[in-house]
């Protein structure tokens, strides 16, 4: 399948003022390489501050890269001017769905007008707009569409509002969608509905999806590949099945361990934890950035940064001790 998005060694640095005259560099993304094909979802998983949302915005050219390159369908868009992005219809072809279905819809606009707005901005004709809006609403199962177009956001549940957001992202016929925590603010009983919907629309509309989440359990059901991020870098990436079944990076292993399952036996034991909190990206640790919290870190990890290396087919890990962990010679938990 055709590649929709490709990031090559993408860096995003911010200059942060500190003190009277000084400034520091915040490395939100520090050399990320990633690609997404048509009809494929790549999940980017990590804690807050790991750079996953920045990654999504950089891939859409909503943020400029500091270094590295971003390709949309093979064309380098990392330096492309806004007029050119529009002239080539790239802006239409790349869309984002935000986390918060409550504040991302104008409360004074009807659903039909909210979904139609991107089309109006791009100067579509009235008949075209109506058709595209109805099709998008049908795609997100807000049916029959004529019943929903005249409603206001407050009349809808959180799950329904998020579907309006998805419909709005769909009307311009995108080929690439960034879904930034699309279900984290939605009731548990509706989450699966949104996730399954995203997957089926992705297939029917042949899109590539970047699914940004802190919840590695949901990644399992929607993504073919996953990238686990820590402090602006990819710690582990590969087929979702491979990474979840055979996690190798200590961070991935511990992250998976910290996800609770509903089990009454939980209350008689302590939850496994990763000690401490993620260090400040303004002052990241040397060597492997995870070494300050890693239970199996050795001297080398403090000094030398590990490279992403393929340990299983298509499954890459950046860890000096990956080989031992994979052999079973070293236990992380």
């Amino acid at each position: 399948m055709e590649e929709v998005i490709r990031l090559e060694g993408v860096k995003k640095y911010y200059e942060v003022r500190s003190g009277l005259l000084g400034s520091k560099i915040l490395k939100a993304l520090d050399g990320v390489t990633l690609s997404i094909r048509k009809k494929e979802t790549v999940a980017v998983v990590g804690e807050s501050g790991c750079g996953k949302s920045t990654l999504g915005r950089v891939s859409l050219r909503l943020l400029d890269v500091t270094d590295g390159r971003v390709f949309f369908k093979g064309q380098d868009i990392s330096m492309m001017r806004e007029e050119e992005l529009r002239a080539k219809s790239f802006r239409k072809k790349m869309q984002i769905i935000f986390q918060d279905p409550y504040s991302s819809l104008n409360p004074f606009m009807r659903i039909g007008d909210i979904v139609a707005e991107p089309l109006e901005i791009h100067g579509y004709r009235r008949e075209e707009i109506r058709e595209a809006v109805y099709r998008a609403l049908e795609d997100v199962k807000l049916v029959p569409p004529e019943e929903f177009v005249n409603r206001y956001p407050h009349e809808l549940s959180g799950g329904q509002r998020q579907r309006v957001n998805i419909a709005r992202a769909l009307v311009l016929g995108p080929e690439y969608i960034v879904a930034d925590e699309p279900v984290s603010m939605i009731d548990a009983s509706s989450r699966a509905e949104i996730l399954l919907l995203l997957k089926s629309i992705r297939d029917s509309r042949e899109m590539g999806v970047l699914y940004i989440t802190h919840d590695i359990a949901t990644a399992r059901y929607v993504s073919e590949r996953v990238a686990v991020m820590y402090l602006g870098e990819i710690a582990e990436t590969g087929l979702t099945t491979s990474v979840l079944k055979t996690p190798i990076h200590p961070y991935t292993i511990l992250l998976l361990n910290s996800v609770p399952e509903p089990d009454p036996a939980n209350r008689r034991r302590r939850r496994p934890v990763i000690k401490g909190e993620p260090p400040s990206p303004l002052n990241p640790p040397s060597g492997c950035k995870f070494h300050t919290r890693c239970p199996v870190a050795i001297e080398r990890c403090r000094i030398e940064k590990p490279a992403l290396t393929e340990y299983l087919p298509g499954h890459f890990v950046a860890c000096h001790r990956a080989e031992e962990i994979m052999r079973g010679a070293l236990s992380v938990t």
């Binding site: 807050s48 548990a188 609770p260 509903p262 209350r267």
Partner: protein, 320 residues
């Protein structure tokens, strides 16, 4: 009453321009001393309103329409607010509010915020209050010097620890936790949950743990109370509610909606949306979304039927 807390037929309605919203509608349960009860429900289930009622902190447009709340045997809804605050708030029952970690006063040192209830409610001398606050800060796993920090200098997890310290500063017997970890990363969530477990044991607390997350509930709860549309739909031991035992269809579907890391099951969803509590559906409030619905569910509201030892479910499937 030998328990820590008992609630009888509680009804709390909000006045809105669409009429009364029945946020809590006929809720009865009890909490034994030293017991942890999880109140599980989705948005609009009434779980947070329930918590706010117990500590007499309802917003102005809410009123208790009926019911009694016994704390350590004494009915507390009939007490004057002044009386309740003087005798119960913080010192007998306290609450970690949802989002409290983001509502700390930004211009006050966190230590002073912890010491505040001691000074105002307990007439504790300032240096004594400060010493006690420092002790609490240490107890929640932070260095004593954090007394002098401001909220913006702390991470979310640290602020949540501060809020927990605050809730325990006057040695309450009953602690209500409302979604104490919902804004935190899963790795920090695990740390906070372990801390809460430690504190429950150390202070022999009776706990009401309000959450939308059944997996999280299983970390703390001896018993689980599932709420839907302002009512209890199921109540029983964690083993029974989460295990193989017969349960309410809502609980069953809620459990099935949790994405699992292992096994082959695909998470399900419950079609439709929670009821509008200004005009709830007739009969069972879950009937419009229930896969097992039949005639009676539409017409008649089911009572809580006994489905096992100490286990009840509000569903006609389990009735005569």
């Amino acid at each position: 009453m030998s328990g820590a807390l008992a609630v009888e037929d509680l009804r709390v309605y909000y006045r809105t321009d669409r009429g009364a919203v029945r946020a809590v509608d006929g809720v009865s349960f009890s909490l034994a001393r030293g017991e942890s009860l999880a109140v599980v429900g989705e948005s609009g289930s009434g779980k947070s309103t329930l918590g706010l009622t117990l500590i007499r902190a309802l917003p102005a447009n809410a009123s208790v329409v009926s019911g009694r709340v016994y704390i350590e045997g004494e009915e507390t809804l009939s007490l004057s607010l002044t009386d309740f605050r003087r005798r119960y708030s913080w010192r007998v029952i306290s609450m970690v509010f949802q989002g409290a970690m983001n509502s700390l006063n930004p211009v006050l040192k966190v230590g002073d915020q912890i010491a505040e209830p001691l000074i105002y409610n307990g007439e504790t001398p300032r240096d004594e209050a400060r010493r006690r606050a420092m002790e609490m800060i240490e107890l929640v796993g932070l260095p004593r010097e954090f007394y002098y920090r401001y909220p913006h200098e702390l991470s979310g997890g640290m602020r949540q620890r501060i809020v927990i310290a605050m809730s325990l500063v006057m040695n309450p017997k009953i602690l209500i936790l409302d979604e104490p970890t919902s804004a935190l990363d899963v790795t920090i969530q695990a740390q906070i949950i372990n801390l809460v477990k430690e504190l429950i044991e150390r202070f022999s607390l009776s706990v009401i743990f309000i959450t939308h997350d059944l997996a999280l509930a299983s970390d703390i709860a001896d018993r689980i109370m599932v709420m839907y549309g302002g009512q209890i739909v199921e109540l029983g031991s964690a083993e029974r509610v989460l295990g193989e035992a017969t349960k309410h269809p809502y609980t069953e579907k809620l459990l099935a909606s949790i994405p699992r890391l292992r096994g082959e099951t695909i998470p399900e969803f419950i079609p439709g949306r929670p009821p509008d509590l200004a005009s709830p559906p007739p009969g069972c409030r879950f009937h419009p979304r229930c896969p097992y619905v039949f005639d009676r569910c539409v017409k008649e509201e089911p009572p809580l039927f006994k489905v096992g030892e100490g286990h009840v479910a509000k569903c006609w499937l389990h009735g005569e």
